[in-house]
Amino acid sequence: MSARIGIVTFPGSLDDRDAARAAYLAGAEPVALWHDDAHIHGVDAVYLPGGFSYGDALRCGAIARFSQVMETVKAAAAQGMPVLGVCNGFQVLCESHLLPGALVRNAHLRYRNRPARLRVETTRTAWTNAYAPDAEVVMPAKHGEGRYVADEATLDALEQNGRVVFRYLDNPNGSMRDIAGIANEAGNVVGLMPHPEHAVEALTGPSTDGLGMIASVLAHLSEGARR
């Protein structure tokens, strides 16, 4: 049986169907999760998709952290369940303190949509182990509030502990140290601004590099099952 990846729909989630397609194309079974249902239906991993959860009220991701489902996701993440947050999902992870730092308005103050070239900085996470070390990948980056910021000590700690997961090769938003994605200490929780689910088919995306993230989590899960 293939691994089950739960995809959360918050009011205002936009990429939930696309995340499900990505999971399906990479060989996983997508499972729909609902924001005010604490039950996560026995999934093996969780994908928080992009969008504008709760209309970005207060701050991006600020309300979603209080949802029923996030209580369960936080507890599961603490037990080692792989959790991925993309774009707004990354913002939710930061607001939920599953990841450090914050995502603020782009330095140029505009929403910008461009294919982003990224370097995979570590393959020692649940979501990047299938990539070659230092691989260059392309995924669409499209956001108005994706500039990663944190205090110097946090940034240094991220760098030293190998928790910077993706780095922009052409920084599109002014993110500190060109950071596009980070992981928690255990490497099971990863957040990134660019969209892997929009880089899964040559016909519709700039690449198929996004599939590697699902392939990674599948490998991670089957590795865990063997142990």
Partner: protein, 758 residues
């Protein structure tokens, strides 16, 4: 029941005070129209009724000046089994195959976008999306056609960024990919920018919805946002009158404010309700708000309707009945629901956190009755509001200057003659506002959400996959050319139609349907009405010839400041079908060694061209010839070559001619082109003429003969121009000049932001 403290103008009061002076003129009604309302009602209207008639009989809602001309679409439309819903519905619906239908429509939001660019443009997008939902479809993409004044006019730096921000913010937040469109600059749009937004949606054919309020006893439910004071008088005041020259009238409170988050919830809730079969009838609330939705659903049904207006959830305090009826608060839909299913409808809305309120019932009285705290403030026959508005036969007169303009031909203007001058002209044209790279705009839009966008900007048409299993998809293009229409509105409209049709065809799609947005000056000016009549006739004749029906659209009059009207600007949206989107033909240059060729004939046609505008500020002569037979052959050829995968790339030639098409193909592909112009061709004419019906194609090695013979068998002229070459740096025009890629990119890219001071 709450008792009301303020005095309300009820039907009883109206009966008792027949001579009360009423502000009909201030609300935009003519004296004879006011008298007709009194005849219909047999008394004076109440304040609420007067507000409703003034709105529903406004130009914007009643199409009173355009209706007699728009009839031509119905009369001349070719019959096609694909057409499932047409003109008069919220949006036209066409069948794609046995299971899937698509609905699409283009609509203007011009006046609000000038007054308040961000909110005006945003709510334009929101409004067109609700039209798509109201047909039963899931919106899957948006496009926009934008026209601004001169790029270096200070006000353009206010209007353009605001409009783009509004379109981007709304579309990005509601989660729809923007798949293309067009942006033009011309001083004639300085005080009257055009913001035309298109949306397209897809549905199973069985989910087609109706706007009928039928079934006595059925419940009327208002779904979505609360009702506030925003947008009161938007359509009757803003969209149905000319801006004054002094600019003193502050129309700001009349522009609505959009909330794409609520719209996203509306989409999800409505589709869930449709799929569960819980809805009898549905209508969106847009311009004219509840007034329009209540009267249209009641008029389309078979009985009447009773509404208790105090049940409408309000955002503002102290709103009177006529305010509630006229409010244009966004993100609202009206549902007609079987009483046995009403609870489930309310529960499903609640699950998404969306407000839903039963406000009335369908009756068999034949009257639309609105009570407010138990007092009747409206009691009218709904058809008198929705269907029986005034119809004008406005005077029509050919503009006096037309003959003079026709002889002032751009073909006689001084032209560049030396190779160096022509070379510089290629670069100058590439850098000009209408031809330069528009990515400063398109990068502010999400283009890939839903994961079905196969082609987006800067392609000639947007291509979207509808079904992942079969690969079936659609192509859409949105095109207009105000200069050509100014020179000759009949042929100018047909040129826009031909261009949109060809843009769809170059992707390999087969064009099947049309939606149009007709942007004109004041209908009270006989010259404008002449332009309008000619343009409508041109489109109707053209669609008849091409065999594709006009499925709907929108008229925007009064795009005029003082006596200065915009160029007549019909914007045409053409929808096409691709049986397999994997076989679409992209923009570009293919691979090294591929043959570059031109299909079509290049004449000396420079009047109305981009070159004449940029280099001489000139507009005169007659526009290029349009040959719809040729366009049909061309579309047939391209769809065939897409199917057999015998083209590596294709690109429509339009503004800027061959030179611009080469610039775009080179810049987009990263390849170089070696070009040899045909013997005897005048390089300037060949590069900059805007003759219609031409496509630049790139033929993979080994397919040249097959493509040539496919052209010849259809009587289409094809001229080999050169080859693609990765080792050529940019454009090599043999015997004339070279332009490096760096020079092309420096000229073409980054212009919009730089001109706006960013």
């Amino acid at each position: 029941m709450n008792q009301l403290n303020v005095a309300v103008d009820t039907v009883g009061v109206a009966d008792a005070t027949p001579d009360e002076k009423q502000p009909w003129a201030e609300l935009g009604l003519k004296e004879d129209e006011y008298q007709r309302i009194r005849e219909i009602l047999g008394r004076r209207p109440t304040q609420s009724e007067l507000a409703m008639y003034s709105i529903m009989w406004s130009e914007h809602c009643s199409y009173k000046s355009s209706r007699v001309h728009l009839r031509q679409f119905g009369e001349k439309n070719p019959r096609t089994p694909r057409l499932l819903a047409g003109i008069g519905e919220n949006a036209g619906v066409v069948a794609i195959d046995d299971n899937i239908a698509v609905t699409f429509k283009v609509e203007s939001h011009n006046h609000p976008s000038y007054v308040e660019p961000k909110q005006g443009a945003a709510t334009g997008v929101g409004g067109i999306i609700r039209d798509i939902i109201a047909m039963g479809a899931r919106p899957i993409a948006v496009m926009d056609s934008l026209r601004f004044g001169a790029i270096d006019h200070p006000d353009t730096a206010r209007v353009l960024p605001g409009v783009v921000d509004g379109i981007g913010h709304y579309g990005n937040c509601v989660g729809l990919p923007n798949i293309g469109g067009e942006t033009f600059f011309d001083p004639c749009y300085q005080g009257n920018p055009l913001v035309n937004a298109l949306s397209v949606g897809v549905m199973p054919r069985s989910r087609l919805q109706s706007m009928q309020a039928s079934g006595t006893g059925n419940i009327v439910i208002l779904l979505g946002a609360k009702t506030g004071r925003d947008g009161i008088g938007g359509v009757s005041v803003l969209a149905s009158a000319t801006f004054s020259e002094s600019g003193e009238d502050d129309a700001r409170p009349s522009v609505q404010v959009g909330d794409p988050f609520t719209e996203k919830l509306l989409i999800e809730v409505c589709l869930e309700l449709f799929d569960a079969g819980l809805v009898v009838g549905v209508q969106d609330l847009g311009g004219a708000g509840l007034t329009c939705a209540l009267s249209e659903t009641a008029a389309a049904g078979d009985g009447g309707m009773h509404v208790d207006l105090e049940l409408v959830p309000l955002r503002a305090k102290g709103m009177e009945p006529h305010d509630i009826l006229a409010s244009e608060s966004q993100e609202r839909m009206l549902l007609i629901v079987d009483p046995a299913k009403a609870d489930e409808v309310l529960a499903r809305a609640r699950r998404w956190g969306l407000l839903a309120t039963a406000i009335g019932t369908v009756t068999d009285t034949g009257r639309l009755v609105v009570d407010f705290h138990g007092q009747t403030v409206v009691d009218v026959p709904p058809k008198s509001l929705a269907d029986e508005g005034p119809v004008y036969h406005r005077p029509i007169a050919e503009p006096n200057d037309l003959a003079l303009i026709a002889v002032d031909r751009a073909e006689t203007l001084p032209r560049p003659t030396t190779d160096e001058e022509i070379r510089q002209t290629v670069l100058d044209m590439a850098a000009s506002p209408n031809l330069c790279d528009k990515s400063w705009i398109t990068e502010q839009y999400d283009s890939s959400v839903f994961g079905n966008t196969v082609l987006g900007a800067p392609h000639d048409a947007g291509v979207v996959r509808l079904d992942e299993r079969t690969g079936v998809g659609i192509a859409i293009s949105l095109d207009g050319n105000g200069r050509f229409a100014r020179l000759d509105p009949y042929h100018g409209a047909q040129l826009a139609l031909a261009e949109a049709y060809r843009n769809v065809a170059v992707t390999g799609a087969t064009p099947i349907a049309v939606s149009d947005c007709l942007n004109f000056g004041s209908p009270e000016d006989p010259h404008v009405m002449w332009q309008f009549e000619r343009a409508v006739t041109g489109i109707a004749d053209g669609c008849q010839k091409l065999g594709i029906p006009v499925t709907g659209g929108n008229v925007s009059f009064y795009n005029q400041t003082g006596r200065e009207a915009i160029h007549p600007t019909p914007v045409i949206g053409v929808l096409g079908v691709l049986e397999d989107v994997a076989r679409r033909i992209p923009l570009g240059l293919g691979r090294t060694g591929d043959t570059i060729a031109l299909i079509g004939t290049t004449g000396e046609e420079l009047s109305g061209s981009e070159w004449a505008a940029v280099k001489h500020g000139h507009l005169g002569g007659v526009p290029p010839k349009v040959d719809l037979d040729h366009e049909m052959k061309l579309a047939d050829l391209l769809s065939r070559l897409a199917e057999t995968e015998q083209l590596a790339a294709a690109h429509d030639l339009s503004e800027g001619g061959l030179a611009q098409a080469l610039v775009e193909a080179i810049s987009h592909s990263g390849m170089g082109a070696q070009i040899l112009l045909p013997e005897g061709a005048d390089p300037f004419t060949y590069l900059f003429s805007e003759s219609s019906g031409r496509v630049l194609v790139v033929i993979p090695r080994g397919q040249e003969l097959a493509v040539r013979s496919a052209c010849e068998s259809r009587g289409l002229p094809i001229t080999p121009l050169g080859v693609t070459d990765a080792n050529t740096d940019g454009l090599h025009l043999r015997d004339h000049f070279d332009i490096s890629r760096a020079e092309i990119d420096a000229a073409w890219k980054g212009r919009i932001g730089a001109r706006l001071g960013e």
